[in-house]
C-alpha cells in the first residue's frame, strides 16, 4: 500500500510532460520498478508524480545515420527482443535480457533505469562499452551527453530538475564486432554483484578495438580503460585476456555488502571481465 497522498499526472505528449516537470518538484514515473517499491516502503514520498507511459514519442527503437536511437520509455523486454538491436547492436539487447525477471523486464524502462543510476544496474556496463550518448530534454531545451558524463555518481546523474532522458543513442556495430555481457547475479534481487560488458573488433589477427564497461564493482559503473589498453594491439590470446583482465579493479574503491566483500568483488570482477572478453573475442571476426 502506498501510504501518502500525491498528485498524479499522465500527460499525453512530451511538451505537456515537460511543462508539468518545469517546476522542478514533480518526480518522473517511468516503469515504476524502483520508485513504486520505494514509495510502498515509505522511503520515497514525492508530492507529484508525472507518469510518462502515455507519451508515445518516448517509446521507439529506430535506426538513423549509423546510430540506433532508443526512446527512454522503451521497456527492457522491447530492447531484449528488438530485431533491429539484435541484428545491428546486440550488446544492449543482451544486457536487457539479464535484468531482473520477466515481470520487471515487461514494466521497467531503459530511461528509468539509467536515471535511477543504481550502481549495480545492468545497462551502464554495456552503455559504457558502446560509448552511448544520452539525449536529455526539458522545457528549456535539450542537450546530449556521453554516458560517462551522464553517470555522475552512485544514484546520481547529470539530470537537472525538470530534465528527462529522451533517448539513448548507440552505434550500429561494424561487421565482425564481438560482444558479451557476463554477470554474477545476486539471486534475490537480480542485480549484478559484478557485471562486465566487452566489445571487441579484430583486424589482421590483432585486437583493433576493445571497450570494457564494469558495473556493480564500484559506486558507479565505469569504463575499464586499463584493461582496454593492455589488450589493444595484442593477438587476443587466452594469456593476453588474463593479463588484461587482472587490472580491472586496480585503483577502484570496491563496494561491499552482505553478499560480497570488497576483496571478493575485486576477484570476481577479474574473472567476469576475462569471461566477457573471451566470449566477445570468440564472436569477433
Amino acid at each position: 500500500m502506498i501510504s501518502q497522498n500525491f498528485e498524479y499526472s499522465a500527460p499525453n505528449n512530451l511538451n505537456e510532460a515537460l511543462a508539468l516537470l518545469a517546476g522542478g518538484n514533480a518526480k518522473v514515473l517511468a516503469g515504476g520498478m524502483s520508485l513504486i517499491p520505494l514509495m510502498k516502503l515509505r522511503l520515497a514520498a514525492p508530492d507529484h508524480l508525472v507518469d510518462l507511459s502515455r507519451v508515445a514519442d518516448l517509446k521507439s527503437i529506430r535506426e538513423e545515420a549509423g546510430s540506433i536511437r532508443i526512446g527512454a520509455m522503451t521497456t527492457h523486454w522491447e530492447i531484449e527482443s528488438s530485431p533491429l538491436l539484435r541484428a545491428k547492436s546486440p550488446l544492449l539487447a543482451v544486457a536487457a535480457s539479464n535484468i531482473g525477471d520477466v515481470q520487471v523486464r515487461n514494466m521497467g524502462t531503459i530511461g528509468g533505469s539509467i536515471a535511477h543510476a543504481d550502481p549495480a544496474a545492468d545497462y551502464p556496463a554495456s552503455l559504457l562499452a558502446l560509448e552511448a550518448k544520452v539525449r536529455i530534454v526539458s522545457a528549456k531545451g535539450e542537450r546530449t551527453l556521453g554516458i560517462v558524463e551522464f553517470l555522475v555518481d552512485a544514484l546520481t546523474t547529470a539530470l537537472d530538475p525538470g530534465e528527462i532522458v529522451r533517448e539513448i543513442i548507440v552505434p550500429v556495430e561494424a561487421a565482425g564486432t564481438g560482444v558479451s555481457y557476463q554477470k554474477m547475479v545476486q539471486p534475490a534481487s537480480g542485480f549484478a554483484i559484478v557485471g562486465a560488458a566487452a566489445r571487441v573488433q579484430k583486424s589482421g589477427g590483432k585486437v583493433s578495438l576493445v571497450r570494457v564497461g564494469m558495473t556493480g564493482l564500484a559506486g558507479k559503473a565505469f569504463r575499464a580503460t586499463g584493461v582496454e589498453n593492455l589488450l589493444a594491439g595484442t593477438g587476443g590470446t587466452a594469456a593476453d585476456v588474463q593479463k588484461a583482465a587482472a587490472v580491472v579493479a586496480d585503483g577502484i574503491d570496491a563496494n561491499a555488502d552482505l553478499h560480497a566483500s570488497a576483496a571478493y568483488r575485486r576477484q570476481m570482477a577479474k574473472v567476469y571481465t576475462a569471461r566477457a572478453l573471451t566470449q566477445a573475442l570468440s564472436r569477433a571476426s
Partner: protein, 152 residues
C-alpha cells in the same frame, strides 16, 4: 559496517583540525544539514534531510567530539534516527601533514537499522561513501574559498 578511507584537504593541519570541528562549517558542508546547534561541550544536535535518488529521509540526531588530540586526532560519535531508520556511528579521524596540505584519514564503524537497512543493505556501503565524498568535496571548496584574499 566498517568504513574507512582518506581525503586530502589543501590546507595546513592546524587549519584542517579547526574546520573539521567548526559546527558552522560542518553544517554547511554536510549534505542535507539544515540545523546544527551546540547543546553542550563538544556536543551538537542536528537535523538532516538526506535526498539520494528517489529516497528521502529526515534524520534528527547528535554529534559528539571526543578524545581530542589537536591537531592530529579526534573521535566523532554520531547518532541519528528518522522514520526510515536509525544510524549510529563511531569514527576516528587522523590528520597527517604533507607539505601544504593535510591528509584526513578516517576509519570507523557505522550501524544502520530500520526499513532503510532492511531493504537497502545492498546500497548502504555505496551511499555511505557517496555522502563522505560529498562532504569532503564541499569542505575542500569551502577551505579554498576561505583562503582567497577578500576582494577589493
Amino acid at each position: 559496517m566498517k568504513i574507512g578511507g582518506s581525503y586530502t584537504l589543501p590546507v595546513a593541519r592546524e587549519r584542517a583540525y579547526e574546520v573539521l570541528q567548526d559546527p558552522e562549517v560542518l553544517a554547511r558542508c554536510m549534505p542535507g544539514t539544515d540545523h546544527l546547534a551546540k547543546i553542550g561541550p563538544d556536543e551538537y544536535e542536528m537535523k538532516m534531510k538526506m535526498v539520494i535518488s528517489a529516497v528521502q529521509g529526515l534524520f534528527a540526531g547528535k554529534v559528539r567530539i571526543a578524545d581530542q588530540k589537536p591537531p592530529e586526532q579526534f573521535r566523532l560519535l554520531v547518532e541519528g534516527s528518522g522514520k526510515v531508520g536509525f544510524l549510529k556511528g563511531d569514527g576516528l579521524l587522523t590528520l597527517v601533514s604533507s607539505e601544504a596540505s593535510t591528509e584526513v584519514r578516517y576509519e570507523g564503524e557505522v550501524q544502520v537499522g530500520g526499513v532503510i537497512a532492511g531493504v537497502g543493505q545492498r546500497l548502504l556501503d555505496t551511499t555511505a561513501k557517496l555522502v563522505i565524498r560529498k562532504f569532503f568535496e564541499k569542505l575542500t571548496e569551502f577551505v579554498g574559498e576561505a583562503s582567497q584574499p577578500a576582494a577589493g
